[in-house]
Subunit: 204 residues, 3 copies
């Protein structure tokens, strides 16, 4: 993995853990529940990706730095909740970095197993959004990613960009870097201009 992705990956783990831990605290979970939710939000997507690709045991359960960062971030969020609950704006951008980085990393991993376009996109999307889905299901809510925001769409675009660049013959390093930067740009624009996907209004 290249250095850019390595650094952004850690930013993503921190941001995702904090979002999971905050959700857990708001759902009145105890310390352990908060740690589990932070851990699952940050690393659950990658674990699902590894399972789909047949890579067992999953990297996120054996490469210690990732879970260590996830658990420490969750613990800090628990201890300093008052502060974290007031810094939503920076967290939103850290989350955007994580989204873009995880999509690129997931696509890259899938591509190393098989160059099926659907597999690459599905694994990229699941790596970057699967943790948030687990967080919301465990919190007894409809996954946010399905209902609002230009969010998973960014993961799809990032994965497609990665695939297209590899298809055109570029290296993994270039493809992950460009995919990460473009996806991050799109996500930041989506936050700034409040992009939304269409939905059907129904009277129920």
């Amino acid at each position: 993995m290249n250095l850019v992705l390595d650094i952004t990956n850690y930013i993503g783990i921190v941001a995702f853990s904090v979002s999971g831990a905050i959700k857990g605290i708001r759902k009145n979970m105890d310390l352990l529940g908060v740690l589990v939710l932070g851990f699952s939000t940050a690393l659950g997507g990658g674990i699902i990706a590894d399972l789909l690709l047949g890579k067992t045991p999953p990297t996120n359960l054996t490469y210690l730095p990732y879970p260590t960062v996830a658990l420490l971030s969750s613990l800090f969020t628990f201890i300093f909740y008052k502060i974290f609950s007031h810094v939503q704006k920076p967290l939103l951008y850290a989350d955007a970095i994580g989204l873009a980085a995880f999509a690129a990393a997931g696509s890259s991993l899938a591509y190393s197993v098989s160059s099926d376009v659907l597999l690459v996109v599905a694994v990229g999307v699941l790596t970057s959004t699967g943790g948030g889905v687990i967080r919301d299901v465990l919190s007894n809510e409809i996954p946010l990613v399905l209902t609002k925001d230009f969010y998973a769409t960014v993961a799809i675009l990032g994965s497609v960009i990665y695939y297209a660049l590899r298809y055109l013959g570029y290296s993994d390093l270039l493809a992950t870097t460009v995919s990460f930067l473009l996806a991050l740009t799109i996500r930041v624009l989506a936050i700034k201009y409040k992009w939304e996907l269409p939905r059907i209004r129904i009277e129920s």
Copy 2:
């Protein structure tokens, strides 16, 4: 796979995608959420089955025709929702075809890995009902299959029939065809006569 199962499989994918997409629209999901829900309902059961059998990456993420049909069906449901929401009766029977076809296909796949009766039945049931469970969990509801209707029971019966026929020495082609036809018949009767399984009435 034989021709009957191949055709019925596609009918099942269409019916399951439509049911997932309709649920997504009713839960006020955006376009992407609707596509994801349609996709998961149609293909999630097969993906779980592949994971349990150690077949990675899962066929539903690498054999393009299946996801293409699932995504197009979901997209059509989104665009023509007004129409789809008024054709519940035909959808119910298309869903019955999918249920019977997926149970037979799942059982057949499991049997090719191991002839354990429990594994064959469990994989048959998960292939045919797992997608609906994912749909309902992502919609923040108790899975329909657990609470009402003579539905998963049909999948169990179909899988048991498949297993029994193979055990008696019949071919995969015959076993899948007979299992499919009998399960479909049972499901159609269950719809027509409103069969229900017993439950405990409790005052809470």
Copy 3:
């Protein structure tokens, strides 16, 4: 597996099945839903553990005694619900035995694949608490294990004890036995003295 773990495993399967079946009955599920919930609560954690360790098809779907006991226990709970709903106290202690036994068995299985401490603990915890999480998610509730009680903490301690003993050179037999006994003791004390983990009180 040693004899102690073998016996306690069956006690755990019975206790977990009953807890799942009772939840299913209370959620107004039909007979099949109750059986599925009992089955998933008792065996779902072990299936997840097997998937994470790449052991497919999962033991719980191929070694018949386990699912047979789980399904029979669930069926008995369905038939004799009136009785089972009045014996919460013994069930709580049977559940404690299951928790301690499943944590030790899961840790032991993970250790046989890899001696990563995180993997051993994660698999131990998932084996013993994953079924309960599935039960609660399928019941459309926040998993109990995340919100209250000194429960998953016991699984973590049991797994850590197992790991520590193996690390110090003791045999699997001794490590599972000691881990089981200590975890059970801790859980019983936690029930008796109503231990709780800290949580953040927030005004929402």
